[in-house]
C-alpha cells in the first residue's frame, strides 16, 4: 500500500517522459549473468531432457553434482554430463552427454539405466588411456544391492566397459601405481558371503586384479574408502555393520598382487577395529593418513546401559605391522554438533557424565583418579537456547563464572564452563588435577563443530 504513491510517481514520470514503462520490477528479475556458462549449460540440458524430467543428484561421493563438466572423449573440450529422472517411471535414471560444437551445446549421447537412486558418480581413468570413464552406480533403494556401470565415450558413442553389482565401492590408487583402481565390495545376503574385488587397467582394459573373501556374516557394508594407511602405503578401509548396532573396519593392503588384511586376528577376541556403534574411518587429525575409529567407554561407566554411555571415539592408525597405534580421542556428539578432542594429558585420568538435573544438554568432564575415589570437575559443556542466552550470560557474568563461548550461531549457544573453586583433593591428586586443567585457549583449540555427514 505504502508503495502505491511510488508506483504512481513512477508511472506519472513515465507518462511525462513520453515513454511507456518498459518493465515492471517483477519482469526484470533475472538470475545473475555472471554464471552465464552454467546458466546456458543448464538451459541446453533442459532443452535435451525428455519432457517432465528432473535433474538427479548423485548420493556419493559428496562432491558429485547433477550436472558436471568433464572431458570424456579426450578432445580437450569438456562435455556436459547430466543425470536425470523422468516422471514416467521411478525406476529409471537417465544420463545425458552434451558436447560443444560451434559454440552450441549438442547432444552427444544419452542412455538410461535401471534403478531408482543414483548412488555413485565419478569420472576416473580406469583403462589407463588418460581419458576418464564414467562410473555410474545405480541402486534400488535402501539396503538393496547396487550396480556399477563403467562407460567410455569414443567416436560419439558410449560403450559399456563393465557392469558389476556392489554394496559399497571406492575409487583410488591402492597399489601405488599413480593410477586409480576401483574397489567393489559385495555382500550376498542370502549366501552369507562377502568379497572385495579390485579392478584396474591392464593393456588398456579394465581387468579384475584380485579379490578377497570377507566375513559374510555381517549385516552389511556402509562405506569404503581408499586412502593412506601409513605415510607410504595406501589401503582400502571398509566399514561393516555387525550385531545389533556395532560395526567393524576391514583394512586391506595391496601386497604382491593381492589384498591382505594385516591386522592380527586372535581367535575368541574382538577385532581390534570393533566398535559398539558405527564410526567411519577418516583422517581425523589432518595428517593425510586415514585413522580407524573405535569406541571406548569412559572410566566408571561399567554399570551403565549401552545407550546411556557417553562413548568416546578413539582413533588409531595402522602401526605398519599387525596392530594399531593410538592417535587421539574425541568426544563426539552428533545431536549437538560437538567434537571435543580429548587432550593427551587427560588420558586414562578422566571421565564424563551428563548432569541429570539440567533439561538442556550438559556434559561434565571430570578428573577421575584412583578408580573414582578422587573426582573434580575439569570442564562442563553446556548448550543454551539462543533465546535464553543473554539472560544466561548475565547470570554467568554476575556469578563471575569463567566460561568459553564455543558456538554463538544457531539455535543453541554452546559454552564451556570452567570450574570456579579449587576442589578438595589430596596432595598428589591435586597435583595431577592441576596438570590436567585447561586454559580457555586450549579449549577453543580442542573444540570443533561437528556436522552431520
Amino acid at each position: 500500500m505504502k508503495k502505491a504513491w511510488l508506483l504512481s510517481a513512477a508511472f506519472c514520470a513515465a507518462l511525462l517522459s513520453g515513454c511507456g514503462l518498459t518493465d515492471t520490477p517483477n519482469e526484470l528479475m533475472r538470475a545473475p549473468s555472471a554464471d552465464g556458462d552454467q546458466k546456458s549449460i543448464n538451459q541446453a540440458v533442459m532443452q535435451f531432457l525428455p519432457a517432465g524430467s528432473q535433474l538427479a543428484v548423485p548420493l556419493h561421493p559428496a562432491e558429485a553434482s547433477a550436472v558436471s563438466l568433464q572431458d570424456l572423449n579426450g578432445d580437450g573440450a569438456p562435455e556436459v554430463v547430466a543425470f536425470y529422472k523422468s516422471d514416467k517411471t521411478d525406476y529409471e535414471i537417465g544420463v545425458l552427454v552434451l558436447t560443444q560444437k560451434q559454440g552450441n551445446w549438442q547432444k552427444l549421447t544419452s542412455f538410461t539405466g535401471i534403478g531408482n537412486e543414483l548412488d555413485y558418480v565419478s569420472f576416473n581413468d580406469l583403462t589407463g588411456d588418460h581419458i576418464p570413464e564414467m562410473l555410474i552406480g545405480l541402486g534400488g533403494g535402501d539396503g538393496l544391492n547396487k550396480e556399477l556401470s563403467v562407460f567410455s565415450i569414443a567416436d560419439d558413442k558410449t560403450q559399456e566397459l563393465m557392469k558389476q553389482s556392489y554394496s559399497v565401492m571406492a575409487v583410488g590408487d591402492l597399489n601405488g601405481d599413480q593410477q586409480p583402481e576401483l574397489a567393489l565390495v559385495m555382500h550376498d545376503h542370502t549366501n552369507f558371503t562377502s568379497k572385495a574385488e579390485l579392478f584396474g587397467a591392464k593393456d588398456g582394459k579394465i581387468t579384475k586384479l584380485t579379490e578377497i573373501a570377507l566375513d559374510g556374516y555381517v549385516n552389511g557394508y556402509e562405506q569404503a574408502i581408499i586412502g593412506k594407511a601409513s605415510p607410504t602405503r595406501n589401503a582400502l578401509f571398509i566399514e561393516s555393520g555387525v550385531g545389533a548396532h556395532s560395526s567393524a573396519t576391514d583394512l586391506l593392503l595391496w601386497e604382491n598382487g593381492e589384498l591382505r588384511n594385516p591386522l592380527a586376528k586372535v581367535e575368541g577376541e574382538m577385532d581390534l577395529t570393533f566398535k559398539a556403534y558405527s564410526l567411519y574411518s577418516e583422517d581425523i587429525n589432518g595428517d593425510g593418513i586415514i585413522e580407524v575409529g573405535t569406541m571406548i567407554q569412559p572410566l566408571g561407566t561399567e554399570d551403565m546401559a549401552m545407550a546411556e554411555i557417553p562413548w568416546i571415539s578413539s582413533y588409531f592408525q595402522w602401526d605398519g605391522k599387525t596392530g594399531l597405534k593410538h592417535v587421539e580421542d574425541h568426544y563426539q556428539n552428533f545431536a549437538q554438533g560437538i567434537d571435543l578432542k580429548i587432550p593427551d594429558k587427560w588420558r586414562d585420568k578422566y571421565s564424563l557424565a551428563t548432569l541429570p538435573s539440567s533439561n538442556s544438554f550438559t556434559m561434565r568432564f571430570f578428573y577421575y583418579g584412583e578408580n573414582g575415589k578422587n573426582k573434580a570437575e575439569l570442564l562442563t559443556l553446556q548448550s543454551v537456547p539462543q533465546t535464553e542466552w543473554s539472560k544466561f550470560e548475565n547470570g554467568l557474568k554476575q556469578k563471575q563464572v569463567p566460561y568459553v563461548l564455543l558456538k554463538e550461531e544457531g539455535k543453541q549457544v554452546l559454552i564451556a564452563i570452567l570450574p570456579q573453586a579449587a576442589p578438595n583433593l589430596g596432595k598428589s591428586a591435586m597435583q595431577e588435577y592441576r596438570a590436567m586443567q585447561l586454559t580457555a585457549d586450549e579449549i577453543r583449540q580442542l573444540y570443533k563443530p561437528l556436522s552431520i555427514p
Binding site: L6, D23, D35, V67
Partner: protein
C-alpha cells in the same frame, strides 16, 4: 554585462536548477525504492516460502538430501538462481545442477548461518555483478544445517531505474531550459523599460528636454517613467521660464538704459546750454536709474530667497503705521491717475512681530501693481481687519483683473502674464515669500474686468503683559 538581465536569468535558473535537481533526486529515490523494494519483496516471499516448505517437508537430515530435494522441486519458471550452502558458506548445489564448491561469505549468508533471514544488495565479490541475494537458514530438528540462497541480478533493475531517471533528467533539463528562456523573456520585459528610461535620461542630460521615456507597463518602472517625464517637463518649463526671464530682464534693463543713454547723448550734444532741457534730461536719467536700481534690488532679493539667505529682523510693530505711510506715499500717484485710493483701518493697533522694511516692501509692491493695472477713475481700497489672533489686510482694485488661467501662476517667479507692462515678474513671488516668512498667508482672487483682490493674512503678536514683561521678553530673545 553583469546587468539585471543576466542576474535575473542566473538566479532564476539556479533556483530552478536546484528545484529540478532536488525533485530529480527525490524521483530517483522513489523509483529506486519502488523497483528494488518490489523485487526484493517478491524474491523474499518466494525464498521464505520455499525455505519453509523445505524445512517442513524435506525430511532428509543430510544437507545433500535436502539439496537434492530442492533441485528436484524448483519450479521450471524460477528466474532466480538458487544455491544450497553448507554452514561454511560452501555451495553444495545450485539450481543449474552444479556443485561449484565456491565459498560465499556475503552478509546474507553469514546472517542465515546465524539463523536469521539475510538480505544482501551489492556487488557479488566473485563476479562484481550487482545482485540481490536473500538467504534463509535450512534447519534439521533444532539446528541449522545449511543455507538456501536466492540470487537475482540487480543490473536490469539498475538499468530500468537509470533509464527512468534519465527520462526524468531530460524532462528536468527541458524545464530548466524553458525556465531560462522564460526568465530571459521576463528579464527583457523588466529591463527594456529601464534601458529606455536610461536612454531618455541620457538625452535629457544632453539638453534635449523634449525627450520622453515611454511608459510600457503600469508598474514601478512605469511610475518612474511618468515621474521622469514630469521632471523633464518641469525642467523644460523652467528652462523656458529662465529664457523668458533673461529676455524680459534684458529687455527691462535695456529700456531704461536706452533712455539714459539717449538723454546722456542729448545733453552732451546740447552742451548743457539749455538749463531746462538739461534738468529734464537729468530727471529722466535719475528716474530711469531708480528703475534700474529697483529692478536690480528685486533680482537681489530673489536670489536671496533662492539661496535661503533672506533674514527677517522682526520687531513688535503696528501695521497701521506702515499702511498710513503707504497712503501718504501713493496719494500723489492717485491724484495723478485720478484713482480713488481709500484706506480703511481699525481704531485699535494692529500689533505684529514683523520686519517693517519687508512688510513695507510687500505693500509698496501690492499698491504699485494695483495702480499699474487700475485705469483712470478706478478705485483702490486697502482694508485691515483683526480677529482674535490674526489680522487681514486686503488690497482691492477695480482694475482689469487676472485671466482665470493665469490666476494660479501669478505668484510664480518670472510669471508675467499676458500684460505688456514692464516688470521682472518677481514682485508677487517675492511678496508671497516675505509673507510666508512671517508665517502668514497670501491669497490672490480676481475676476477679469472687475478687479483683483489680494489678501494678506498675518498672525497678531501676543499681547504684552506689561512693559517689564516686554523688556524681559526682548532680553530673552536676545
Amino acid at each position: 554585462m553583469k546587468g539585471i538581465k543576466s542576474r535575473l536569468v542566473l538566479y532564476f535558473g539556479m533556483i530552478l536548477l536546484l528545484i529540478v535537481l532536488l525533485l530529480e533526486g527525490l524521483f530517483y529515490w522513489a523509483v529506486h525504492t519502488y523497483y528494488f523494494g518490489t523485487a526484493t519483496e517478491a524474491l523474499e516471499t518466494r525464498s521464505t516460502t520455499f525455505t519453509n516448505f523445505i524445512n517442513k517437508y524435506a525430511t532428509g537430515y543430510r544437507l545433500k538430501d535436502k539439496a537434492r530435494y530442492i533441485l528436484e522441486n524448483i519450479s521450471s519458471q524460477e528466474y532466480a538462481k538458487i544455491e544450497v550452502l553448507d554452514l561454511n558458506g560452501k555451495v553444495i548445489l545450485n539450481s543449474y545442477g552444479f556443485q561449484t564448491g565456491e565459498l560465499i561469505q556475503t552478509s546474507d549468508v553469514t546472517d542465515a548461518i546465524r539463523g536469521q533471514k539475510g538480505l544482501f544488495v551489492g556487488r557479488s565479490p566473485q563476479s562484481r555483478e550487482r545482485v540481490i541475494a536473500i538467504s534463509n537458514p535450512l534447519t534439521f530438528a533444532s539446528e541449522y544445517v545449511g543455507v538456501l540462497r536466492y540470487t537475482i541480478s540487480a543490473e536490469p533493475l539498475y538499468q530500468a531505474v537509470n533509464r527512468i531517471a534519465l527520462y526524468g533528467l531530460s524532462v528536468g533539463a527541458g524545464v530548466v531550459l524553458l525556465a531560462f528562456a522564460l526568465s530571459l523573456l521576463m528579464a527583457k520585459r523588466i529591463v527594456d523599460p529601464i534601458e529606455e528610461l536610461t536612454n531618455a535620461a541620457k538625452q535629457m542630460a544632453e539638453g534635449n528636454f523634449t525627450a520622453r521615456a515611454p511608459k510600457r507597463y503600469d508598474d514601478e518602472v512605469g511610475t518612474l517613467a511618468d515621474t521622469f517625464n514630469y521632471m523633464a517637463a518641469e525642467i523644460g518649463k523652467n528652462e523656458k521660464l529662465k529664457n523668458d526671464f533673461i529676455s524680459s530682464v534684458s529687455h527691462e534693463l535695456r529700456t531704461p538704459l536706452t533712455s539714459i543713454k539717449g538723454w546722456g547723448e542729448t545733453l552732451i550734444s546740447g552742451g548743457l546750454e539749455e538749463p531746462e532741457e538739461t534738468m529734464l534730461g537729468l530727471e529722466v536719467i535719475s528716474k530711469e536709474t531708480d528703475r534700474l536700481i529697483g529692478l536690480v534690488e528685486e533680482l537681489l532679493d530673489f536670489s536671496k530667497f533662492q539661496s535661503g539667505e533672506m533674514k527677517l529682523s522682526r520687531e513688535r510693530m503696528d501695521l497701521r503705521e506702515i499702511l498710513d505711510d503707504m497712503h501718504v506715499q501713493f496719494a500723489i500717484r492717485s491724484q495723478e491717475k485720478q484713482i480713488d485710493f481709500q484706506l480703511d483701518l481699525p481704531a485699535s493697533p494692529l500689533i505684529v512681530m514683523g520686519d517693517p522694511n519687508r512688510l513695507k516692501q510687500v505693500f509698496v509692491n501690492l499698491l504699485d501693481n494695483a495702480f499699474k493695472f487700475t485705469p483712470k477713475g478706478g478705485t483702490i481700497c486697502v482694508a485691515a481687519t483683526a480677529s482674535e489672533d490674526r489680522l487681514t489686510v486686503t488690497v482691492t482694485d477695480s482694475g482689469e483683473g487676472i485671466h482665470p488661467n493665469d490666476l494660479p501662476h501669478v505668484t510664480e517667479k518670472f510669471f508675467k502674464g499676458t500684460s505688456k507692462l514692464s516688470g521682472s515678474g518677481l514682485g508677487l513671488a517675492i511678496c508671497k515669500e516675505i509673507i510666508q516668512l512671517h508665517t502668514g498667508r497670501f491669497l490672490v482672487s480676481s475676476e477679469q474686468g472687475r478687479g483683483t483682490s489680494i489678501m494678506v493674512d498675518l498672525p497678531l503678536a501676543p499681547p504684552l503683559a506689561g512693559l517689564a514683561g516686554s523688556a524681559s521678553t526682548v532680553e530673552r530673545t536676545e
